[in-house]
């Protein structure tokens, strides 16, 4: 469906989670290129390079050392060049407060990290599908909210 591989970026300090994430994407049918940032600081350093290749979807863990996911989200939304990146929060927290706060701050997707690998694959599939529809079918990205 996509000629070029979709560029995915995950910012998560947990090694195991990055591994699950990578494995899950490898098993998904859609062609993707997955890259990682190890914490919020590194993520922002990468994104703010003038020639950085911006991801199609940014997966953002909330609980990260140095710079939390929420701080990254706020910075990204205030940056003219970055603010249109589709952002998926990828967190252990299922707190309604966190969900609402991040949506209000401009996140498009909120994913509670599942505790089953198959669930993770399903979720990633759905995110990619819905995202692709939003990218290609003239949907209003301002209304793009998805909670999984």
């Amino acid at each position: 469906m996509q000629k070029n591989a979709l560029h995915i970026l995950l910012a998560d300090d947990d090694e195991d989670d990055r591994l699950f994430f990578k494995d899950a994407f490898e098993e998904v049918k859609v062609q993707t290129k997955v890259e990682f940032a190890f914490d919020g600081m590194q993520l922002m350093e990468y994104l703010t390079q003038p020639d950085a290749k911006l991801p199609d979807i940014l997966f953002l863990d909330l609980n990260m050392p140095k710079k939390t996911g929420k701080e990254c989200l706020a910075e990204i939304k205030q940056n003219e060049r970055l603010k249109n990146i589709i952002i998926a929060i990828y967190s252990t927290s299922s707190s309604e407060q966190d969900i609402e706060d991040t949506f209000v701050q401009g996140a498009n997707i909120y994913i509670k990290k599942p505790s089953d690998f198959n669930d993770l694959k399903k979720i990633i599939n759905e995110v990619l599908t819905v995202n692709w529809h939003y990218q290609t079918s003239g949907l209003n990205r301002d209304n793009f909210l998805l909670r999984l």
């Binding site: 947990d14 195991d16 989670d17 699950f20 494995d23 252990t92 927290s93 299922s94 707190s95 309604e96 407060q97 990290k113 599942p114 505790s115 089953d116 690998f117 198959n118 993770l120």
Partner: protein
């Protein structure tokens, strides 16, 4: 002001007294006039009497002269002549006296003049009689003539005297008549006037004595209340002061002195004295607010510290008001409260409160972090297991597979526990924002949340219109989710669950033992199901954290769900009760204040 009794008699009393005084003045003036009239009359009487006497004297002197002359003529004894000789003098003195006495009466003077002429003629006739009776010059005819002429003269004189007496008498009578007239009008009039005055005075006396009784009563009350005031100032730790702006005089109540650490009346307060007690920190503020009272006519509560002579610091709260009395004089009334005890207690309470808050926060964050951080490794365990079971189960031994599945079940149970704990801690810690929300909408959201389970169990939910209340929306939604979830979970195996929701607005007096009676109206929402129910003896224990009625293998669950329900209802100052008939169903009833 209401509490001052009205003695309106003072004005009428004044009027009564003025009238009485006028009557008395009038009466005394009448008496005075009477007295004077009487005096005058008696003088007149005396005058009359004197004239009378002098006339009589005059007459008797002439008669004496006549008698003497006769005796002499008969006897020729010159001894008889002496009365005649004296009589002339006597007549003269009487005449002079009469002249004086009748000086104010021209008519009497005329009469007197005539009388005088007659008397002179009489004496002339006496002389002639004597002359013609003297043997030497005796002439019988002439003597007879003169004797007879004397006789006529005498008659004339008597007549004249009588006339004068008459005039005087008439005059006297006239005077007495006038006097009588004047005085005869007096007695009845003055007695009635006197009685009137008496009545007025008696009335006044009655009023006065009545007022005195009232005054006594009020005075006693005043004494009691001022005593009470002083006592209550002492007990209530407050004091009052008055500042007469006109005279600049300041009066402290007894307790004001005590508040400042002195005996009552220990010094004469002035405007400056009070400021001396005020703590240096608050001086400027108090000075400003004192000016403020004069300008704004009242003083909002000010809080400040004072320092007593023994260096003890007291906390005061003061207020004041500018009063203007009927005469327009301005009096500043102030009240000071000694709030030191409350203040210190407050500080202590605040400290304890913040301590409690801190420990509460710590506990909450511990709870949150514990369950939150526990999730991470658990999730990884579960994810790794899911990976194992996918790829490697085929090559595993039976017991290995068994162990893996046991680990999986335990991990799942731990997950449910942690999730519920998180939920429970969240009902405590997240900010409690009360928003007016439609419970119907929240109920629909809850139903959406449970959609899968409802469809899977083919459950029927019969709902009703629910009110709009000030609630914490997500908590009420959670409450509904838990209650419906409970009914779905503990349904009977072969019967499709049926949950009926009913709602009523009730008066708190209907449940006097359960509901807070200070809140009048409650919404009573009942959730009835046809599930397996429970033994009613557990109807209270099921709301306790970790309390379970079923074994873990029979029904999954943590025993937190209903504890969360109770917590949520508590947060809303409501109540939750449960009842059940085993194998028939359960009823959960929540009461939410209107």
């Amino acid at each position: 002001m209401k509490w001052i009794p009205k003695f309106n008699s003072s004005n009428s009393l004044r009027v009564i007294f003025v009238i009485a005084i006028f009557i008395l003045l009038f009466l005394s003036s009448i008496a005075y006039k009477h007295n004077r009239d009487l005096n005058e009359s008696s003088k007149l009487l005396m005058h009359n009497y004197e004239i009378n006497i002098q006339l009589e004297r005059l007459m008797s002197a002439i008669k004496d002269a006549e008698t003497g002359q006769r005796g002499y003529i008969i006897t020729r004894n010159s001894r008889f002549l002496s009365p005649y000789l004296f009589s002339r003098d006597k007549v003269n003195t009487s005449f002079i006296a009469l002249r004086k006495l009748t000086a104010d009466n021209p008519k009497q003077q005329q009469n007197l003049q005539r009388l005088f002429k007659l008397i002179i003629l009489r004496f002339a006739s006496f002389e002639n009689c004597l002359k013609y009776s003297e043997p030497a010059t005796y002439d019988k005819r002439k003597l007879d003539n003169h004797m007879f002429g004397g006789r006529i003269l005498m008659e004339n004189i008597r007549f004249q005297v009588d006339e004068m007496n008459d005039i005087e008498k008439k005059y006297l009578q006239k005077r007495l008549k006038i006097y009588d007239q004047e005085t005869s009008l007096g007695p009845v009039f003055s007695i009635s006037l006197f009685l009137a005055a008496m009545t007025f005075i008696l009335l006044a006396y009655r009023q006065i004595s009545k007022d005195i009784v009232r005054l006594k009563i009020y005075n006693r009350r005043l004494l009691i209340s001022s005593g009470l005031m002083a006592e209550s100032e002492k007990i209530g730790k407050f004091s009052t002061w008055q500042w007469d702006l006109e005279t600049d005089k300041i009066i402290y109540s007894d307790n004001q002195f005590r508040l400042l650490g002195y005996e009552p009346g220990a010094f004469v307060p002035t405007k400056e004295t009070f400021l001396e007690f005020v703590h240096a920190d608050d001086k400027a503020m108090i000075e400003k607010s004192m000016e403020g009272i004069v300008n704004h006519k009242s003083l909002p509560f000010v809080y400040y510290k004072i320092v007593r002579p023994d260096h003890q610091i007291r906390y005061l709260k003061s207020t004041g008001k500018l009063l203007v009395d009927r005469n327009g004089s301005k009096i500043l009334l102030g009240i000071n409260f000694d709030i030191t005890d409350e203040h210190l207690l407050n500080i202590e309470l605040q400290e304890r409160n913040s301590e409690l808050e801190k420990s509460n926060k710590e506990l909450a964050s511990f709870n949150h972090v514990a369950s939150h951080d526990l999730q991470e490794p658990l999730r990884k365990i579960q994810t790794f297991i899911s990976r194992v079971s996918d790829a490697d189960k085929a090559v595993m031994s039976e017991s290995g597979k068994n162990y893996i599945s046991k680990i999986e079940i335990s991990a799942k149970r731990m997950r449910v526990l942690i999730d519920d704990l998180l939920l429970f801690s969240r009902t405590n810690t997240t900010k409690k924002e009360f928003i007016k929300s439609s419970l119907t909408e929240l109920f629909e959201n809850a139903q959406l949340e449970l959609n899968e389970a409802i469809e899977e169990k083919k459950a029927v939910i019969i709902t009703t219109k629910l009110p709009k209340l000030h609630v914490i929306p997500y908590q009420i939604e959670q409450l509904f989710i838990n209650l419906i979830g409970n009914s779905l979970k503990y349904s009977q195996n072969d019967i499709a669950p049926k949950i009926v929701i009913e709602c009523d607005k009730i008066h708190s007096t209907l449940y006097p033992e359960l509901l807070d009676q200070s809140v009048k109206k409650f919404y009573k929402i009942t959730f009835s199901d046809n599930g397996m129910g429970f033994d009613p003896q557990f109807k209270e224990t099921i709301f306790i954290l970790f309390q379970r009625l079923h074994s873990k293998t029979e029904y999954p669950g943590t025993g937190i769900g209903l504890a969360i329900c109770k917590k949520i209802v508590d947060n809303h100052k409501g109540y939750i009760i449960a009842d059940s008939t085993p194998n028939k169903g359960s009823v959960f009833t929540i009461f939410l204040p209107e």
